[in-house]
């Protein structure tokens, strides 16, 4: 099936998310849509999938114009989508999720037997190992993604849209996904692959369309030079590597010993983690999302219920203290999910900038706030961190994601710190701001502050870390130097210990990534 998008325009208020975008997806090709965060890729695909109504343009399938008023129409037309944020009901089983919306019935009742058979059939075809009766919420993200894929395939999708599918995967899982994509293509399914990761685009695409700020800025071949692609995508020359000075290590500042976290259901989510961080050092906690990093940072912040073990900052024990006491001890914290954990949407930018300091001088006392100090603080930080906002008293919810992240970072860095813990410090931020925020983090390190960075982005980890601790299933598999081989890190993220990973790499285990690097394709 040949899919064409002609002149698709979609506006939100006065913001043009898609401006007359043309895109042609030939049958049986992997067509990559490359663009930065906020470039309008997802908007375009949501238009294609009937979730958004376009303000202009048309969708043409095999030469005939179609119009989708809801996703049901799109599915009927043979378009399937694997969303960036999975569209799965967590409390349903794999089988239930797969059949939702086109349920087989027998005698008026649900025929879950038929659904299970279908799950097994499709799983077998692609070598997925999926239990039809497993609850989706108990599956790791990689498996959940496979559920999304079979969900689309079970509706005989001829065009499959994958929206940032690799964000939640290990390098190995990414390779597996790419293999699946190729297999699907070979069977005649067209694939639209949305990503901002150049190396993946180069590895798997048949054709590349680059969009920037809502418009198509170019077409490219997978053989195109990576730097050219990056330039096309960002609109200028980029290099993400930071000018990083050698770390000057000081005394041990944070000593974590055998830290354990148990969740409400009695499941141990953090399993005896030990490490130390020195003054003037960046320790990066790497790993695929959901392997205990969240629990680790929350345990240090006093946000977890049942914590055992010890975490001493200088000589003070952090475990067992309230969040407020931990913050008062000089810990700066950037939570991984800014909208959920860091920002109060109704509050102004100025109020959010003092959220964790609001009852301390100069911003306030135990009794009353000082609006003047709060305002002046905002007027100092907003230009310093280049937060784009109408004013200091605009609600923080009116800011774009990247600017919100700057607010969170500005807040954490706005005082003398004894320790900085930053989770996903640059998630959803545009390239220019990433450079700036990384610089600020390194400056903080160079001031002598011990810094813990939790990141699932290997690029970020490699750029910032002096040492890297890789987490897997609630434990630290090993702590390696900051310049460790990417393949070794990738294998560790998949559960290899440092030694085993090094052995494997020495024996020739490679990811697409490093192969491309060897071939001089990527930096």
């Amino acid at each position: 099936m040949k899919l064409e998008l002609r002149g698709i325009t979609k506006t939100f208020g006065s913001f043009v998310a898609n401006d007359a975008i043309d895109l042609v997806v030939e049958p049986g090709e992997i067509h990559s849509l490359l663009g930065e965060n906020g470039a309008g890729k997802s908007t375009l695909m949501n238009v294609l999938y009937g979730l958004y109504r376009p303000d202009g343009g048309e969708i043409v399938i095999d030469g005939a114009a179609v119009s989708f008023s809801d996703p049901g129409d799109a599915m009927a037309a043979g378009i399937g989508m694997v969303h960036q944020h999975f569209m799965l009901v967590p409390v349903f089983t794999v089988a239930e999720n797969m059949v939702l919306g086109h349920e087989p019935t027998r005698g008026g009742l649900l025929d879950l037997g038929a659904a299970r058979t279908l799950v097994r059939e499709i799983s077998a075809r692609f070598g997925f190992d999926l239990d039809p009766d497993a609850l989706v919420e108990n599956l790791p993200v990689g498996a959940q993604q496979r559920v999304e894929i079979i969900k689309a395939l079970s509706r005989s999708a001829e065009v499959l849209v994958l929206d940032e599918p690799t964000a939640v995967l290990t390098p190995q899982e990414t390779d597996e996904l790419m293999a699946i994509m190729r297999q699907l293509r070979d069977e005649g399914t067209s694939i639209v692959f949305i990503t901002h990761k150049l190396r993946e685009v180069k590895a798997v695409s048949d054709r590349i369309t680059v969009i920037r700020r809502g418009t198509v800025v170019g077409q490219a071949d997978p053989s195109a030079d990576q730097a050219d692609l990056a330039g096309l995508m960002v609109g200028r020359q980029v290099s993400l590597a930071q000018d990083k000075a050698e770390a000057t290590l000081g005394e041990i500042a944070l000593q974590v010993t055998d830290l354990q976290v148990t969740d409400a259901a009695g499941i141990r989510t953090l399993d005896g983690v030990s490490f130390e961080v020195r003054h003037g050092e960046v320790l990066a906690i790497a790993g695929v999302q959901g392997n205990g990093q969240t629990e680790l940072s929350e345990a240090l912040l006093g946000l977890q219920e049942t914590v055992h073990g010890s975490a001493r900052l200088e000589s003070r024990e952090l475990v067992g203290r309230s969040t407020k006491q931990v913050l008062d001890a000089g810990v700066g914290f950037v939570p991984e999910d800014r909208t959920h954990d860091a920002l109060v949407p109704d509050f102004t930018v100025a109020e959010n900038l003092v959220l964790d300091q609001h009852d301390r001088a100069p911003f306030g006392t135990a009794l009353a706030m000082s609006p003047k100090a709060v305002r002046e603080n905002a007027e100092k930080l907003i230009p310093e961190f280049d937060v784009r906002t109408e004013s200091a008293v605009s609600a923080v919810s009116t800011l774009s994601g990247g600017n919100q992240q700057k607010v969170v970072m500005a807040r954490a860095l706005n005082r003398e710190l004894a320790l900085l813990i930053a989770s996903q410090p640059t998630r959803g931020v545009d390239v220019g701001s990433i450079e700036f925020l990384h610089r600020r983090l390194l400056d903080e390190r160079d001031k002598g502050t011990p810094v813990v960075i939790v990141s699932t982005e290997l690029d970020e980890v490699v750029q910032l870390a002096d040492r890297i601790a890789v987490m897997y299933r609630g434990a630290i598999l090993g702590i390696v130097p900051g310049d460790e081989d990417r393949d070794v890190l990738g294998l560790m993220m998949a559960g290899y210990t440092a030694e085993a990973a090094r052995e494997a790499v020495a024996a020739g285990a490679r990811t697409t990534d490093s192969q491309l690097a060897d071939e001089g394709e990527i930096v």
């Binding site: 239930e96 919306g101 559960g495 990973a501 052995e503 494997a504």
Partner: protein
């Protein structure tokens, strides 16, 4: 890839490590039951009325009671029995201590059965104490329980229907009241309780439609809509009660009653016969609706879609399920069911409509729904629990206190159902899994 030796991975499902540490609050439950058991021992037992006897009336003349297997009345010494029951309760508490001390995470089945034993013994001890020098007709108590449970159960089912689809339904109270009002008004006009029975759900639909219009259509905060609609329902019904109905009660508000449908033979079984098989049509309807709804919610296409809408509306939308239409329909269905519950208050009990006659039952129904974990059967069981407290209160209030008997002030008895609901909500709610999208309006771009 080589060297599989060090691989920890098996990707199919997260391997769960159940920790052997107990939660820090593990002692709360056994401690609470122990204290309560001790209170029962002292208050109901040791400090009971010396020499008093408590009677429980069971079988009746004319019951199907071959050879008198079920005795007509059991009379026991109050103090001795209460002490014995309190000791049983304390033993159950001890069991809970042991259970929690030995295993960090005991099996729920063992835990729940011990709690059940404790609760039964404690309540019986209380009853033994409170009816010292009196007799309690158990069948009447249970019959009252069921009758009182009907409006609560219908209300709770209304909540289940609406909240499973993601719309918070605080307006159950208003729906009950409108149902009661509609049944009385239309029944009177038509001169037939059966017509009233049909009118009740239709009238309650008005409330449902308003809830859906504001909560789903205009995305107004759902709790606010619910609370405000309840006030509206009280206002409108009281207004008409004070005008039209008062001007001509014979025409607009005459008491009438749905006939009691007695199932022959079965109704003659001692104690439970009358409870289960000598009731009006609303009670039988309640059983049917609970059963139908249980199957429908968990075994049909409709139910799967409703639950998907309540858990993850966007996911439902992406597979072509009309989220807001589903919610509209469920809110309307729910309100109709609650209307039947309202009918119980007037034509079900044979009284005329009265101002604010729902008296907070809608909110207790809400508590029953939460306590019943958004499940029709759970909701029914919770409704029965609250109704038991209410029925007991009524029984104890009407049986005149004999000389020297235990006298609990009537107002405290009236408080009982509300206190039970308060404790139930506090004790259990934290552990209930709410439909994830409950209360969040769905906005399609």
């Amino acid at each position: 890839m080589t060297t599989a030796s060090a691989v920890v991975a098996d990707d199919s499902e997260i391997q769960k490590k159940v920790a052997d540490v107990r939660p820090d609050s593990w002692w709360h439950l056994p401690a609470t039951t122990t204290v309560l058991g001790a209170v029962a021992l002292v208050l109901f037992g040791l400090r009971g009325i010396p020499g008093a006897e408590s009677s429980f009336a069971l079988a009746r003349d004319g019951d199907l009671n071959p050879l008198g297997i079920v005795p007509e009345q059991i009379t026991v010494p109050s103090i001795g029995t209460a002490i014995a029951l309190a000791v049983i309760a304390l033993v159950a508490s001890a069991g809970l201590w042991v259970l929690h001390a030995r295993v960090a995470r005991p099996r729920p089945a063992a835990r729940i059965s011990l709690i059940a034993v404790f609760a039964a013994a404690w309540i019986l001890a209380f009853m033994t104490w409170v009816i010292s020098e009196r007799a309690l007709d158990v069948a009447t108590l249970l019959q009252g329980t069921l009758a009182l449970a009907v409006p609560l159960a219908f209300g709770a089912l209304s909540g289940v229907l609406s909240e499973r689809s993601g719309v918070i339904n605080i307006a159950i109270e208003g729906q009950l009241l409108f149902g009661a009002f509609g049944a009385a008004l239309v029944g009177s006009l038509a001169g037939s309780a059966w017509v009233g029975l049909l009118a009740a759900p239709v009238m309650a639909l008005v409330m449902g439609a308003l809830l859906a219009l504001f909560a789903v259509g205009y995305r107004v905060q759902q709790i606010i809509v619910g609370v405000v609609l309840n006030v509206l329902a009280i206002g409108i019904t009281s207004f008409f009660f004070g005008t039209v109905m008062r001007q001509n009660p014979g025409m607009f508000n005459s008491p009438m009653r749905l006939p009691t449908l007695r199932i022959p033979v079965l109704a003659d079984i001692p104690v439970i016969g009358r409870v289960l098989f000598e009731q009006n049509v609303l009670v039988y309807l309640m059983w049917i609706i609970v059963a139908v709804l249980t199957v429908a919610l968990f075994r049909t296409r409709w139910g799967l879609r409703v639950r998907a809408v309540g858990e993850h509306p966007r996911a439902a939308d992406t597979v072509g399920i009309a989220v807001n239409r589903t919610r509209w329909i469920n809110v309307l269905l729910g309100s109709a069911v609650a209307g039947l519950g309202g009918a119980t208050l007037t034509i079900g009990t044979g009284v005329a409509f009265g101002e604010e006659m729902s008296a907070g039952k809608g909110y207790i129904a809400l508590a029953a729904m939460i306590l019943g974990r958004y499940h029709p059967i759970g909701a029914l069981l919770a409704a029965l629990t609250f109704a038991f407290a209410d029925s007991l209160q009524l029984r104890l209030g009407t049986t005149s206190a004999a000389e020297g008997g235990v006298a609990i002030p009537g107002d405290f008895l009236l408080m009982l159902p509300y206190v039970v609901a308060l404790f139930a909500v506090a004790g259990v709610v934290g552990r209930v899994r709410v439909p994830a999208a409950n209360g969040t309006p769905y906005v399609k771009q």
